[in-house]
């Protein structure tokens, strides 16, 4: 399964038309994507035309309980950026593929490529900076 993900990572050019069929029609715009298996990840994250912030989360992790709601609050109102939450207990393959050794971990994916990554509960500034970059907004004053 991780093979398929690796392949997607290496080939940014894909046939968008055929992929649109693969995307689940139950995907509601701006609702946080709850990844429960590899297939969902490929369909809703790797094959998403919008960039996706992938948040690796664990219920037993205190900092996660602060970061995840924060990410939801910042990203859900945006129309050009999605948030996917991956529970590390349910997605061992993804954890292995993305070499997640600690939680919370945030990986930014655009067109199937990892464009950014941070580990741990970082400052709100850094999070908003990442979100702005991913959603194409230019941060004022930079």
């Amino acid at each position: 399964m991780s093979n398929a993900i690796c392949k997607s990572l290496r080939s940014p050019v894909r046939n968008l038309a055929s992929l649109k069929k693969a995307i689940s029609t139950s995907l509601v715009h701006n609702e946080t994507i709850l990844v429960r298996n590899n297939e969902e990840f490929i369909n809703k994250v790797m094959n998403n035309d919008k960039p996706v912030i992938v948040n690796f989360h664990a219920e037993w992790c205190e900092p996660c309980k602060i970061l995840t709601p924060q990410l939801k609050q910042l990203i859900e109102p945006l129309t050009d950026l999605d948030l996917a939450v991956v529970d590390v207990e349910d997605n061992a393959d993804l954890v292995h593929t993305f070499e997640v050794k600690a939680v919370p971990a945030v990986i930014a994916i655009k067109n199937g490529l990892i464009v950014d990554k941070f580990i741990g509960l970082v400052e709100t500034d850094m999070i908003t900076c990442l979100i702005n970059r991913m959603s194409g907004k230019k941060k004022e004053g930079t």
């Binding site: 219920e59 037993w60 992790c61 205190e62 207990e89 061992a92 954890v95 292995h96 050794k101």
Partner: protein, 494 residues
């Protein structure tokens, strides 16, 4: 899969994913071996189960230390007042048991996860199944859903550890909990009876009492049997002073459940034959642990070096079957400690796969009992030293001391005591060091290295202490028991 022309599925199969098993597995993989680890937790009588990592991580050292810390912090809040902290209402300060257990369990789960990720990174195959032998090179793992998986391996390490033993009395299994259950107990324990005064019983009674849950301890013979008895006395005296009730020379007779849901426990004094009883919210059995060798089907492997208690007799961790080894709590006559299992596991892997010859040194292993006032020690107890060398050849230096931080809050210093047991003949090599006081584990650790180097009283007395600490008291030792002089401190700084 039967071995074809001598090829096995794995170079090493480890039964037990605890301290010893995992350390051995990881070291073996570092040395190029193909390894699998079997781990399975049979639920406790009360239904408690846990993840990968073994006793230490899930129901031992880790949660114990965290609860001990929670208890100490509770005491600190009260002491803080004497130092000038304005604490709103002292009597409103109480422990939130669900919050405590959630925090502890969250930490344990994070360790379970990191352990699993680590095994995956290192390409160690993890099988969540109960292992048993089919023959010296074949194991059968029974998974949770009942399915069976056969595994063949060139070498097999038994690292199954142990579980709490329940006394054979009415109500024990039905109504009582053990250390398996206390750290995730779904309701506050309330007034608790702890049956057993080994370190598990005393540590549990200690933190429960400090957290605000009245604790009573039934002591069958003596507290901390096997440890230096003078130090054990200091530990229990301190606990009594803190409100823990001790019933000495008492064995439990029965535990029955009352209509209120509470438990009525009955016991008998084995010396006076007097009986006693009381009602508790929780009864915690801490009457020893037994090795999990029964379900292994050792006979199928031809392993016969098993003691009456079920432990494996293997002086160099190798059983009577040359490709089968054992490490950790399952071993007979070795200290049941995580660092011992880890160290032995690693050395064993090196002997198996790197041609190393270094055996595990089980002597002078330091340990600490994390009772409210802690007891740390390394080496021989005074009794053992006297029995081994004779009173004439042994010199014991001792002292009571007063930790600087205890004065202001007027903490009890009566049980702050330490001693060095040494050979009488110059340079007086130290045989054992014993310390009762705060942060005893931190105090003793460095001295364990010193004892390994053969430290003598002359060297110890010539060591300059760090001031003000409690550890420096070792460097100030100068009064012997033999002299009869008063070991109480006059004043500090002189």
């Amino acid at each position: 899969m039967a071995p074809v022309a001598g090829t096995y599925d794995y170079d090493l199969a480890v039964i037990g994913g605890g301290s010893g098993g995992l350390a051995c597995a990881k070291e073996a993989v570092n040395l190029g071996a193909k390894v699998t680890v079997l781990d399975y937790v049979t639920p406790s009588p009360q239904g408690t189960k846990w993840g990968l990592g073994g006793t230490c991580v899930n129901v031992g050292c880790i949660p114990k230390k965290l609860m001990h810390q929670a208890a100490l912090l509770g005491e600190s809040i009260h002491e803080a007042v004497a130092y000038g902290w304005e604490v709103p209402s002292l009597d409103a300060i109480k422990i939130n048991w669900p919050a405590l257990t959630e925090a502890v369990q969250n930490h344990i789960k994070s360790v379970n996860w990191v352990t699993r990720v680590d095994l995956r990174e290192k390409k160690i195959d993890y099988v969540n199944g109960l292992g048993e032998f089919k023959d010296p090179h074949t194991l059968i793992a029974t998974l949770k859903n009942g399915s069976k998986k056969e595994i063949t391996a060139k070498n097999i390490v038994i690292a199954v550890g142990g579980r709490p033993h329940y006394p054979d009395i009415p109500g024990a299994v039905e109504y009582c909990i053990s250390s398996d259950d206390i750290f995730s107990l779904g309701h506050p324990p309330g007034k608790t009876l702890v049956v057993g005064a080994g370190y598990i019983g005393l540590e549990c009674a200690g933190f429960l009492n400090s957290l605000g849950y009245p604790a009573t301890v039934l002591v069958r013979s003596v507290p901390l049997r096997g440890f230096d008895q003078q130090m054990a006395q200091a530990v229990t005296s301190e606990m009594e002073q803190k409100g823990v009730v001790f019933h000495n020379k008492c064995v439990p007779l029965s535990v029955e459940k009352l209509e209120t849901g509470q438990l009525k426990a009955r016991w008998q004094n084995t010396e006076t034959q007097e009986r006693g009883e009381d009602v508790f919210d929780t009864v915690l059995m801490a009457t020893g642990r037994y090795a999990l060798t029964k379900t292994l089907n050792l006979e199928a492997a031809g392993v016969t070096c098993v003691s009456n208690s079920g432990k494996i007799i293997a002086e160099t961790e190798q059983t009577n079957v040359s490709n089968i080894y054992a490490v950790g709590d399952v071993l007979e006559g070795k200290p049941e400690l995580t660092p011992v299992a880890i160290h032995a596991g690693r050395l064993l892997a090196r002997r198996m796969f790197a041609g190393a010859t270094q055996p595990m040194d089980y002597d002078n292993v330091a340990t600490t009992v994390f009772t409210p006032l802690e007891y740390g020690c390394v080496g021989l107890s005074e009794e053992t030293a006297l029995a081994r060398h004779g009173a004439d050849k042994v010199e014991v230096y001792h002292a009571f001391y007063k930790p600087t931080e205890f004065f202001i809050p007027q903490r009890n210093i009566r049980n702050c005591y330490l001693k060095a047991v040494a050979l009488r003949e110059a340079p007086q090599r130290i045989l054992g060091l014993h310390f009762v006081g705060p942060v005893a584990g931190e105090v003793i650790q460095g001295f364990a290295a010193a004892v390994k180097c053969g430290i003598t009283m002359e060297q110890l007395m010539n060591t300059v202490g760090i001031h003000p600490t409690v550890a420096e008291e070792f460097t100030r030792l100068n009064i012997t028991k033999r002299s009869g002089k008063d070991p109480n401190p006059a004043s500090c700084c002189s």
